[in-house]
């Protein structure tokens, strides 16, 4: 049997309890796991189902941009340049980008390391693993590519903004119209944009990497603004995640004819 380690190491105070916390420390990891799992199940279903993702003028963010020949007519704003070699749903191809951003995101790392990997499940609650190498080895060393996921996500945000602008057309293709779906798509683009801009890598690239702020006043000001957003990164992460699912659900319901989209003008 291996020698005891961690809080059970021979030189430390002999306390057998895994934790002496009396508060409900398990609420955060349980709730986080529940919400993340619910989103993964929902997004996986919607990504593979391959229908009810587009109805003029709305394209769900889970399928944007739709770039394979499988895309329904009118949904491929950027063309179907990927062709027909992609064997899965067009959503799977594009969801790799937001997925890579969220998987390597510094906030989500805290969330899923605590909730799924229990490393640790909560502060001062012993983790169950005997060995721990953190993010020093494959595959977790790949967390260091977060900035590249950010670059891709920023481009993705431009496309979602384009989708939101396009939603101000009528179903017949005339500009200057708006429905409830347009509002939902605008909020979606704003939340996802703010989530990306509030990212820790963005904060670093904008100005955090500088040794001297005073020599770079413009970058310092930009860093200050990103830092304000960065303070709300966790909230933006949750809000944008939930809103993406809601946006998709709304368009699914409209596209399937379950309910109709109220038009404002």
């Amino acid at each position: 049997m291996a020698a005891p380690t961690g809080t059970q190491s021979p030189t430390r105070a002999r306390i057998t309890a895994r934790s002496l916390r009396t508060d409900r420390w398990w609420v955060y990891p349980s709730f986080t796991a529940l919400v993340l799992l619910a989103f993964v199940v929902y997004a996986t279903y919607r990504a593979f189902v391959g229908e009810h993702y587009f109805i003029e003028p709305y394209l769900t963010p889970l399928y944007s941009p739709c770039v394979t020949t499988e895309c329904v007519e009118g949904s491929a704003h950027l063309g179907t340049w990927v062709g027909d070699w992609w064997p899965l749903s067009p959503a799977v191809l594009i969801l790799i980008i937001p997925l890579s951003l969220r998987l390597t995101c510094y906030y989500y790392r805290k969330a899923y390391y605590r909730s799924f990997w229990m490393s640790p499940p909560a502060c001062a609650v012993a983790e169950p693993h005997r060995r721990y190498t953190g993010e020093t080895r494959f595959p977790l060393i790949l967390q260091n590519i977060h900035r590249y996921a950010l670059y891709l996500a920023l481009a993705y945000n431009v496309l979602l903004t384009y989708d939101a602008v396009m939603s101000f057309k009528s179903p017949e293709g005339e500009w200057g119209h708006m429905g409830l779906g347009s509002l939902i798509l605008v909020v979606n683009a704003v939340l996802l944009g703010l989530y990306s801009l509030s990212c820790h890598s963005c904060r670093h690239i904008i100005g955090g990497r500088l040794r001297s702020f005073s020599k770079h006043p413009v970058r310092y000001r930009a860093w200050g603004m990103v830092s304000v957003l960065n303070g709300r990164h966790a909230q933006l992460a949750w809000a944008s995640l939930v809103w993406v699912a809601f946006t998709d659900f709304y368009i699914w319901m409209v596209a399937s004819g379950t309910w109709s989209d109220p038009r404002f003008f």
Partner: protein, 262 residues
């Protein structure tokens, strides 16, 4: 108005120990350290507890209260429910000396390895100058009182004793960050932060920030910025290429320091 508080206090040393029950009379407005002192004065004169300023500024009275690392002098008894038993144990990441006193020398050994401030040569008039924005940036890090609550809560060493030789811990990532962000410093500590301080072992679970009594945003403002700087140097092919093309590695402002004692 006084009332009786039920407490469990860990008593013992490295050879063994247990949680001992005490009932102690306390007053409204008192803190956990007051209750411990009253136990010491009335029931257990040999109770070992380290303390000094009683104002949350010396970092001596770090303990674990109801399982959470906290300063005993800053934990008001009013934060507990009426009738709740308050459990006090020593810091569980460090070797116990006796009762609530632990041997925190691990931290001093780590501190010795952080390359010190290495300013550029003085200008002709002999005066170093810094702009206010650059001074303010490091101010948050200098609030650290070295209570080592962030160190004891960090699961990298709390749950894995074997990581201690290769991991500096949150308090010292704060020091690395402070020096790396100092405009007059000439050392490049990024490789040391990766290799010697083991910043890659940190998985950003933010417990250090949660327990910091000074409210320092250790993870957001020190550890993540240091991880990003390490990524710049070791994991980003574009910045690597930029360094090679512009020969930045050979400039005097990119000196990789030797650690003290090397």
């Amino acid at each position: 108005m006084g009332y009786d508080l039920d407490m469990k206090v860990w008593r013992g040393d490295a050879s063994g120990g247990e949680l001992v029950d005490f009932t102690v009379e306390v007053e409204e407005g008192e803190v956990v350290l007051d209750a411990l002192h009253r136990i010491q004065a009335t029931q257990a004169g040999d109770l070992a507890v380290r303390w000094n300023c009683k104002a949350g500024k010396c970092g001596s009275c770090s303990t674990e209260i109801n399982g959470k690392p906290r300063l005993a002098c800053m934990t008001r008894l009013s934060t507990f429910e009426e009738g709740e038993t308050v459990t006090v144990t020593p810091l569980r990441a460090f070797p116990v000396v006796r009762d609530l006193v632990t041997d925190v020398s691990y931290n001093y050994k780590v501190a010795e390895k952080v390359p010190p401030f290495a300013p550029e040569p003085r200008p002709a008039d002999g005066a170093y100058r810094m702009q206010q924005v650059d001074v303010e940036r490091g101010q948050e890090f200098r609030k650290c009182i070295e209570c080592f609550l962030c160190q004891t809560v960090c699961h990298v060493i709390r749950d894995h004793e074997e990581n201690k030789p290769s991991f500096a811990g949150p308090r010292f990532f704060l020091r690395y960050a402070e020096l790396e962000m100092h405009p007059l410093d000439t050392n490049d500590r990024r490789e040391l932060a990766r290799e010697q301080a083991g910043i890659g072992l940190c998985n950003i679970t933010k417990c250090c920030t949660e327990v910091c009594p000074e409210g320092i945003k250790i993870t957001d403002n020190a550890i993540i910025p240091m991880k990003e700087r390490v990524a710049d140097r070791s994991y980003d092919p574009v910045t690597w290429l930029g360094r090679k093309i512009f020969r930045r590695d050979q400039l005097p402002d990119a000196q990789v320091p030797r650690t003290p004692g090397d």
